[in-house]
């Protein structure tokens, strides 16, 4: 399936958002959005990915 992960086109095998995080090596404190909508951690198992989905994975960063 083709998706866009953090702005980059990717071909992935994962079918859910949880699977995607594992497949791409994300761990620890991250938050996710699919097609600009926040998806909480407890819903990632149920978030079935569709071809063309735009996924954002963010983490703590320096800020002012």
């Amino acid at each position: 399936m083709k998706i866009v992960l953090n702005g980059e086109a990717r071909e992935v095998a994962a079918s859910t958002l949880s699977d995607l995080l594992a497949e791409c090596g994300f761990s620890g404190r991250v938050a996710t959005a699919v097609n600009e909508d926040f998806i909480s951690a407890v819903l990632r198992d149920h978030q079935v990915l569709q071809d063309g989905d735009r996924i954002e994975v963010v983490a703590p960063m320096q800020g002012g």
């Binding site: 938050a31 983490a59 703590p60 960063m61």
Partner: protein, 256 residues
């Protein structure tokens, strides 16, 4: 002493965590300043989990965390970012930034009020980055904000308090609302100025992080903030246009 959504700050400095020469200098600056709050953000996670390393640093600092929505230009974007921040940082606090102008980074106050309302209704405790406009301030309070954070000057400009008159008016209008000067501070004297006006805290980043010696500047900022607060509590004299002799005239010897 006012509380920030029920929390007593150990001191009135909120320090940003961006732009330091190294993580070690960031840590030292926060510790030596004694800042009670550190501001943080969310960005795309990089290869190797760079965000996780930063999260460890933040945890080790042992200060309160205030995540921001820096760089957001729409209500939708800011609200989504706030939800992500609440999950990642495990806090209801959100420093709500809605940028309306690219060059000045002036807040879009119309969208700010709407986002504040949405987030407050969803249980967030909003710290709104706003202008000194009193009508906007009133709308933010009506939207559920219990704190106001007017800018001193544009973010990163280091110009100090551009509009002292309006900031003084805001303090007078809302004596019981915690007020924080957010952005524009360049020098310790600017921070002292804010506290002398009766503001409850100062939030700054660039002035410390981009100084030649951020650790020493962090200490200088805290010293100035404490001096400014003491000065306000001491009820300073009013400025005059003409001189007024401090040494008594009565009793002076006639020697001419």
């Amino acid at each position: 002493m006012k509380t920030f959504y029920g929390i007593d700050l150990p001191n009135p400095l909120m320090l940003g965590t961006a732009q330091y020469p190294s993580p070690a200098i960031l840590e030292q600056a926060v510790r030596e300043s004694g800042a009670g709050v550190a501001t943080v953000s969310l960005r795309r996670e990089g290869a190797g989990g760079t965000g996780q390393a930063f999260w460890q640093i933040v945890q080790d600092l042992g200060v309160l965390i205030l995540p921001n929505t820096a760089g957001c230009h729409t209500v939708k974007e800011a609200v989504t970012t706030a939800h992500m921040a609440r999950e990642v940082f495990d806090t209801k606090w959100i420093k709500l930034e809605l940028i309306g102008h690219t060059d000045s980074l002036q807040p879009d106050v119309f969208q700010l009020v709407e986002a504040a309302r949405v987030l407050t209704e969803d249980g967030f405790q909003v710290f709104p980055y706003t202008t000194e406009d009193l009508i906007v301030a009133e709308r933010l309070l009506m939207a559920g904000c219990e704190i106001l954070m007017p800018w001193g000057a544009p973010i990163g400009s280091g110009r100090g308090l551009n509009n002292e008159y309006a900031l003084r008016a805001m303090r007078a209008e809302y004596p019981d609302v915690p007020l924080v000067i957010d952005a524009g501070i360049g020098l310790p004297s600017h921070a002292a100025h804010a506290m002398e006006l009766g503001y409850d805290a100062v939030l700054l980043n660039t002035a410390v992080a981009r100084a030649g010696d951020p650790v020493v500047m962090a200490r200088a900022m805290m010293g100035a903030i404490q001096a400014g607060r003491l000065a306000h509590e001491a009820d300073p004299i009013a400025a005059r246009d003409m001189a007024e002799a401090s040494t008594p005239v009565i009793g002076k010897a006639f020697l001419s």
